[in-house]
Structures are given as C-alpha cells and as structure tokens.
Symmetry: C2
Subunit: 148 residues, 2 copies
DNA sequence: TTTCTTGCAAACGATTTGCACTTTG
DNA sequence: CAAAGTGCAAATCGTTTGCAAGAAA
C-alpha cells in the first residue's frame, strides 16, 4: 500500500482527463488536494487533510476541501465511507479490503479480501450498476473484549 | 420479513434479560421504543421513530430515543448503520442482506444474501470478535444510470 | 469577458450534554 | 430513599450554503 512515484502521476492524469471531459477547470487547489489525499493514503477525514495542508503552509478553505473531495469521488479516484463515527472518511479507490470496527472503542482495522470485493461487484443486481463496495464487520476488538 | 406476534414477545424477553443482567431499569419507555422499532421493521431513522410515536400520542423525548436505541444495539436487538446520509439508521438484527445504494439519488435497495453475512462473520480475524456486518455496494440505480 | 472556483462566515441538522425532576428497585 | 432514567433546552460538531472576490478558459 506504499505510494509509488508513478501512482500519483497516474491519478493526476485521471483527474485531468475527468476535468477535461466535464469541462471543469484545472485549478491548483484540486491537484494539491489530490496529492495530499494520496499521501495520507489510508482512510482520512476532511479535517485531517485540511490540517495536514495547513501545517504544510498550503491554505485552502474547508469548503474547497469538501467540494474537491466530492469531485474526486465523482471521478472515481476516491471512495467515500461512513463508518461508526459521524465523520466521512475517504480513501484512494484501490483497496479491496473490509473493515473491522470495534463498537466500543471505534478502532478500525483493515483486512485484505480481494475476492469479497470481486464477488460483490461482479454480481448483476438487475438494473443497478455497481461501482465500489464497502464491507464492515462490527464487533469487539482485542483490547475491548478482554476486560468486561 | 413480516412481524410475527411471537417475535416481539421474544425480543421483549431479550430486552428484559439484558436489563436484568446489567442491573438496568425496566422503564415503560424502553419497551415502547422497542415495540415501535419492531413495528417500523425496515431501516428507520431516529426522527422517523420519534414522529411515529408522537403521532400515536406516546411522547418520549428525543434524548430518550437516542439513549434507548443505543441500548438496544448494546443488547444486540438492533443494528446501527450509517449509509450515504448523515443520519443513523437502525434495523432489527435479523437481516442478512446487503444494501445497494445509488450514489446519485441515495436510494437504498436491499438484497438478500445469507451466505455473505455467514462468510463475513464466521471468519476468524485473530483477536477480533465479529458480531454483525454491513455490506454496501455503491453504484447507479436503474433510473439514475439511464439519463446522463 | 464570462463562468467557474475559491474563501469566508453564517446557517443547518443530527446528535450530545447538563441539569432539574421523576421513577424504579 | 438512593440511584438510574427522563425531558427539555442549550451546546457541539461535521457539513452545507450564500455571496463577494479571484482566476481559468
């Protein structure tokens, strides 16, 4: 899950293409946000990305972050998930894993499972066109299940 | 998925037992909310349940609804899901289906898939104890995929 | 120059919290 | 009667929206 130098290139290309087709503008903010999203890699929240950019001295408004993340989802570059918390999380759309969420402490653990995703997306749900999936198994994590 | 007369009996029994073990109190509100939750059956939101009870002339505060729904989740009677919207949805913990969510109109369709749940929960995730699962396939529904 | 984008701040809406009052055990 | 639970209203917090100013095309 390491970010290869070529991946970001590819994703930028994908964004460029998407913007071209939709007649949207190539703004520096959009690419800066894409870069940071790829750098954060694992599920990140809006504020996490916002703060990371702020720390780095690159200022964008929260509104722009929200807008751009939605745009990147539209472009199929990111996936949006809503887990236990009431805060949207995003991830670069390359994973085929499921999420184990502890219902007590909220910790999220990823488990790779390529065949699960494949199974979910290859199905024909008559009329419905699958794009990506999100599977969550809720339960108690290691630490939370030991003590009562 | 019809509510049989015996199911509510069984669920009340389950709640009673849970309250007994945890030394919590058997309040009328808790049972009234359980009843209504079972009646609503499919995924319902907090306000939906609140309004249904209000209409019926049974008043409980929103805070109590929130508290009780969480309690019922703790008891394993309900499951809590966060789908596309930023509003929690609950359902009686008996389903083994996955959810197809249209990323454009947000419509949620249920598809039965008992083996999927079984597969997700029977796995041993070393240390993590699975309790229930939620699988979502995002995509475009019938109506939203036809027009550009 | 014409729109599309951005930034800012105010608005929103679901959920949580604090506290006085009530009820269960 | 002591502790737990309820109702109400205010507070939180993530997200959305309106609008003026700035930048792509």
């Amino acid at each position: 899950m390491q970010t290869q130098p070529s991946e970001i290139q590819y994703l930028r290309q994908q964004l460029t293409e998407f913007l071209r087709v939709r007649h949207l503008r190539k703004t520096p903010e959009r690419f800066a946000i894409l870069d940071k999203a790829v750098e954060l890699s694992a599920h990140f929240g809006v504020d996490q990305l916002y703060n990371a950019m702020e720390t780095e001295g690159y200022h964008v408004s929260r509104a722009t972050v929200y807008n751009t993340l939605e745009l990147l989802c539209e472009a199929g570059i990111l996936n949006r998930h809503l887990f236990a918390t009431n805060q949207a999380r995003y991830e670069v759309a390359r994973g085929s894993h499921l999420h184990l969420i502890c219902r007590r402490c909220g910790k999220i653990r990823e488990v790779d499972d390529p065949t699960l995703t494949e199974r979910l997306l290859s199905e024909t749900y008559d009329g419905f066109r699958p794009e990506y999936s999100s599977s969550i198994v809720y339960g108690l994590c290691d630490s939370c299940s030991s003590p009562l």
